[in-house]
């Protein structure tokens, strides 16, 4: 198992390395002179040279890249183009806990709602309840978040106007501001997890050992709990990684539409502002999140499944 983990760690380092390279190349191919833009309306050759030097832009590109990598390894993410006095790290540091809280809550909600929906649907297989649940789950999975959000807004505003309890529609900092974005972010994942859970349940229920258990006369509830559920949950572990990546992707739209100051918001805003040091840092950070999540999934899967462990 350690061999697998160390192999994985190696490829993780390689992937992150390539991500830095790719974002670096895209940034340096981008049209426009960042220093000229930064200087505002004032033409000042001395200051121009000073700023170019300060950001290391007067070096050949490969040297810039190696400097960048070196700084990265020592934890220095450089300075923002947009807010020249602010180190990139301080810009990102505020976004990370925000995005983590949003993502983890959404993940928890999607597992807590998606798993029961899938299990019940499997137990109700081929009844109208199964069809209804699966239709709702498919709709949740398919309807894009930018379609759900305006509908929620209209409903929420109508509730508020009618004097009913309503939810904050944007912003961050209060627990109740978490509810709408988490629901939107979790929606697709609930549908995804429920569908996966249902097919995995059905798959297990057809297996010999379940038939044997039933044949031995074990009560249905015990068969389901001891044998089916236990084995059917295993595939779920393998998708938690992709599901989290899914949440990170969804977070771009959700954080932007709900004005949530997370990493996704910062990433999109800094792309809009062509703030390359911040773009690079957010990209690496998000890539790290995805890669680590996949690694954790692999390790979790290895620990959970004796067949893989023996490998």
């Amino acid at each position: 198992m350690w061999r697998i983990i160390s192999q994985r760690l190696l490829s993780l380092i390689f992937v992150l390395f390539s991500v830095t390279f790719l974002t670096f190349i895209v940034s340096s191919l981008a049209p426009g002179d960042p220093v000229l833009n930064m200087m505002g309306g004032r033409q000042d050759p001395v200051r121009y040279q000073f700023l170019r030097h300060m950001y290391g832009l007067d070096l050949p590109w490969y040297q810039q890249y190696f400097n960048y990598l070196g700084n990265l390894l020592s934890g220095n993410l450089g300075y923002s183009f947009k807010y020249p006095e602010r180190p990139v790290w301080s810009l990102i540091a505020n976004g990370v806990p925000v995005s983590m809280q949003l993502g983890l809550t959404a993940l928890t909600v999607s597992v807590l709602l998606g798993v029961p929906a899938g299990v019940l649907s499997a137990l109700w297989q081929n009844t109208w309840r199964d069809t209804a649940t699966m239709t709702i789950m498919l709709a949740l999975y398919s309807v894009p978040s930018f379609v759900i959000i305006p509908v929620l807004w209209v409903v929420d505003l109508a509730l508020y106007r009618a004097g009913w309890p309503s939810l904050p529609v944007a912003g961050w900092g209060k627990p109740e501001q978490l509810i709408l974005p988490v629901l939107v972010l979790a929606a697709a994942n609930i549908g995804f997890i429920a569908r996966l859970m249902r097919s995995s349940m059905l798959e297990v229920m057809r297996q010999d050992f379940v038939r044997t258990a039933r044949a031995k006369g074990a009560p249905e509830s015990i068969v389901i709990r001891r044998h089916v559920l236990r084995n059917a949950l295993l595939p779920l572990l393998t998708v938690l990684g992709p599901a989290t990546a899914f949440l990170v992707t969804g977070a771009f739209v959700v954080e932007n539409l709900f004005a949530i100051p997370g990493v996704g918001y910062l990433a999109v805003q800094s792309i809009g502002q062509r703030d390359y040091p911040v773009i690079q840092a957010t990209t690496i950070l998000l890539a790290l999140a995805v890669v680590v999540m996949n690694l954790v999934t692999d390790i979790g899967y290895t620990l959970a499944d004796p067949r893989v462990r023996a490998d």
Partner: protein, 311 residues
């Protein structure tokens, strides 16, 4: 997202695959919807325009701004009303569907050409070819979802437009989105090719002196074609959503071009007063996404004897 199982047995199905497909009502309905949408998107705007006398036709061209019809309700002239600039909503909707499908078509062409080919090469040759291709795919996988597409469309968007106008922008969006798609395709095809390579019929052909090219073209390609078809169909759904998301963030299709994402974005602010302007494109995009998911699922069930039983 979908995991596509490898074929357990290469036995000829008792009935042709399309018989299975047609028995799946959702998939058939999805296919009919897609065909109708495609037909309407291609021919609809012209026919709809020709229904009016020649001198009034431009009020339905989707670009002409009739300042007397701003935010107009449905009427004999504008069947679905007009938008915030007095442009015909039905025409713009159909043109937007055309754009969605065109982007999806270009993305899937790249996806199949690049992802399919690289997957085949990686699986067939193994060794350093596999190493190189797999690491490249890993790297692109590490970019969470749309981030790379957002970055590329943002950085090179205005250059593309300066060089090739609206078409350049559209192609850039498609190219950026295909970067999100092809690694998954390559991975699927690679693992399937690996499985097929060691099978008897491959070994037999090789011992009869078949060249690499013959083996790939005659034996591998026909056997992975169905996986390519299913994966590409399912991917269309996410491409449509991703294109809309890019346009929503202001990085995709631009005015006066039409895109479902752009239509939703422009109307979202006034959803209370003119809800139809949001709901019409929202329903269309949801229907397209569902249709492609149904067809993809249906094709998989029809091609894959194993998944057919679980239905």
């Amino acid at each position: 997202m979908a995991e596509i199982p490898t074929i357990a047995e290469q036995t000829a199905p008792a009935r042709p695959w399309w018989m299975y497909f047609l028995r799946n009502r959702a998939a058939t309905a999805g296919m009919v919807f897609i065909l109708v949408a495609l037909l309407l998107a291609l021919a609809g705007p012209t026919v709809y325009q020709r229904l009016l006398p020649a001198d009034q036709q431009r009020s339905r061209d989707g670009i002409f701004q009739d300042y007397e019809s701003i935010n107009a309700e449905a009427s004999p002239v504008h069947w679905l009303g007009a938008d915030y600039l007095g442009r015909d909503t039905l025409t713009r909707l159909l043109v937007a569907v055309r754009v969605s499908l065109l982007v999806a078509f270009v993305v899937e062409a790249i996806n199949i050409g690049l992802g399919g080919l690289l997957g085949l090469l990686a699986g067939y040759f193994g060794g350093w070819v596999d190493m190189l291709i797999s690491r490249l795919a890993d790297m692109l996988f590490a970019f969470p979802g749309l981030l790379l597409a957002i970055l590329i469309s943002a950085v090179f968007g205005s250059t593309a437009r300066e060089l090739y106008g609206g078409t350049g922008r559209l192609l850039l969006v498609a190219a950026a989105l295909s970067l999100v798609s092809w690694p998954l395709m390559a991975r699927l095809i690679r693992s399937e090719t690996l499985a097929l390579k060691s099978r008897d019929f491959m070994l037999a052909s090789r011992s009869l002196g078949a060249s690499d090219f013959q083996l790939i073209a005659r034996h591998l390609l026909p056997n992975v074609a169905w996986i390519i078809t299913v994966a590409a169909t399912l991917d269309v759904a996410s491409v449509i959503v991703n294109e809309a998301t890019l346009s929503l963030l202001g990085l995709g299709i631009e005015e006066p071009g039409a895109s479902l994402g752009l239509m939703i974005f422009r109307a979202a602010g006034k959803i209370e007063r003119y809800p139809l302007q949001v709901f019409i494109p929202a329903v269309m995009i949801t229907a397209l996404v569902l249709a492609f998911s149904f067809v993809g699922d249906g094709l998989r069930d029809a091609f894959d004897p194993r998944s057919r039983q679980s239905g």
